[in-house]
Amino acid sequence: MPGFVETFFNLEIMRAALPYLLQGLGTTLLLVLLVVPLGIAGGLAVALLYRSPRRRVRWPLILYVDFFRAFPPLVLLIFLYAGLPFAGIEIGAFTAVAIGFFLNNSAYYGEVLRAGIESVPRGQWEAARSTGLSAPRAMLWVVLPQAVRNVLPDLVGNTLEVVKLTSLASVVALPELLFAARQAQSLTYNPSPIVLAAIIYLVLLWPFVRLLSRLEHRMLVSR
């Protein structure tokens, strides 16, 4: 049996696979740039609509959020990618990922932002309105900044999850980082490309994990 290093950290194979993996990384980053803003926008819509005094508006929103908290995103993705074509709707891997993630992430961001907005005392809103600020301005300039600050760890944490979630796109053959690594592995019969992909994820995400730890810790101490 070949040695451990030769098997898992085969530099030759890693070097050969690197360009391919970097291409995959490019796709991953592109996905992130697409699904994070979309998810935040959707989540903001959920959180703002939730302020409605009408229960007929709030109930469906809770249902929507809880549905996607209960539903595995991979199942949603497979449904869109492999199920819809039976109805004559071919949307392709990229669109399936975009739609699936939008639905899923809007729910999660929505829950975070809703909690953030609710954490801002009502007096802030009233003070802003009493100085003549319109409702959208009061929301944008007074309430939202405080809301974001109050739930910053959850926002960062959720974004980290979203980035990690993009690895699911490999299942529907979207050539992002993990997909590229598995392709390279099956071509070389060597796991080094997967190890390299894991290392790339670590290098990319570890600083955010550290940041998150710091933020969470600060919230605990400041309380």
Partner: protein
């Protein structure tokens, strides 16, 4: 035939559903079993790590932080793929079930450790001192004074995180675990009809929706004003 009828005929074909119901049910059982094992092992390991960290022994804490950071940074699917496709090269070939279970357990343990540790830290130092000043030992103080208070701030985020990670059992379909999603996909390819997928989706909702509602209830129940 209007649009709804056509949709129903495609996605809600009762004949197909009935035919593959046993398969999906078997997948359901596998998912439940896998999920239970992940939750038990992941939370137990996470709590054990947090307790070890409370000893505040530097080298040990550093190792624990390393473990936590590693499995918070790596996507669960990457861990599963590593275990399933790469470990055989090292002479250990875990089944898809074991690979998925181990990967999700490690990931859950990392998040759980961080949440438990945060809970322990959130208990003021004075609580430790008061208990120790009456002669309680380290373990007794942890058990009777600190953990009961830590648990209260821990439960809501822990429930949410546990649900989110346990849903990842669906990732097992990628490494040939015949849980709900894989069973449904197999059925789709045999029947040339997506209805088993609908059935599988419903199975997930049946399984996890009550857990999410429980999480909501817990969140309001444990919202604690000091």
């Amino acid at each position: 035939m209007n649009a709804w009828d056509r949709f129903a005929a495609t996605f809600l074909d009762t004949d197909v559903m009935a035919r593959y119901l046993p398969d999906i049910a078997a997948g359901f059982a596998t998912t439940v079993w896998l999920a239970l094992l992940v939750v038990l092992a992941g939370l137990a390991l996470g709590l054990a790590l947090a307790l070890l960290r409370s000893l505040r022994f530097r080298p040990l804490s550093a190792l624990i932080v390393l473990h936590v950071d590693l499995f918070r940074a790596l996507p669960p699917l990457v861990v599963i793929v590593l275990l399933y496709f790469a470990m055989p090269n090292a002479g250990w070939s875990p089944s898809g079930f074991v690979a998925t279970w181990l990967a999700l357990t490690l990931v859950l343990s990392a998040f759980a450790e961080e949440i438990f540790w945060g809970g322990i830290l959130s208990v003021p130092k004075g609580q430790w001192e008061a208990a120790r000043s009456t002669g309680l030992g380290f373990l007794a103080t942890l058990t009777w004074v600190v953990l009961p208070q830590a648990i209260r701030v821990t439960i809501p985020p822990l429930t949410n995180r546990t649900i989110a990670i346990t849903k990842g059992t669906a990732l097992g379909s990628v490494v040939a675990v015949s849980e709900i999603l894989a069973s449904a996909q197999t059925a789709v390819s045999f029947s040339f009809n997506p209805s088993p997928l609908t059935l599988g989706a419903a199975a997930y909702v049946v399984l996890f929706f009550p857990v999410v509602l429980f999480g909501r209830w817990v969140e309001t129940r444990f919202a604690w004003k000091r």
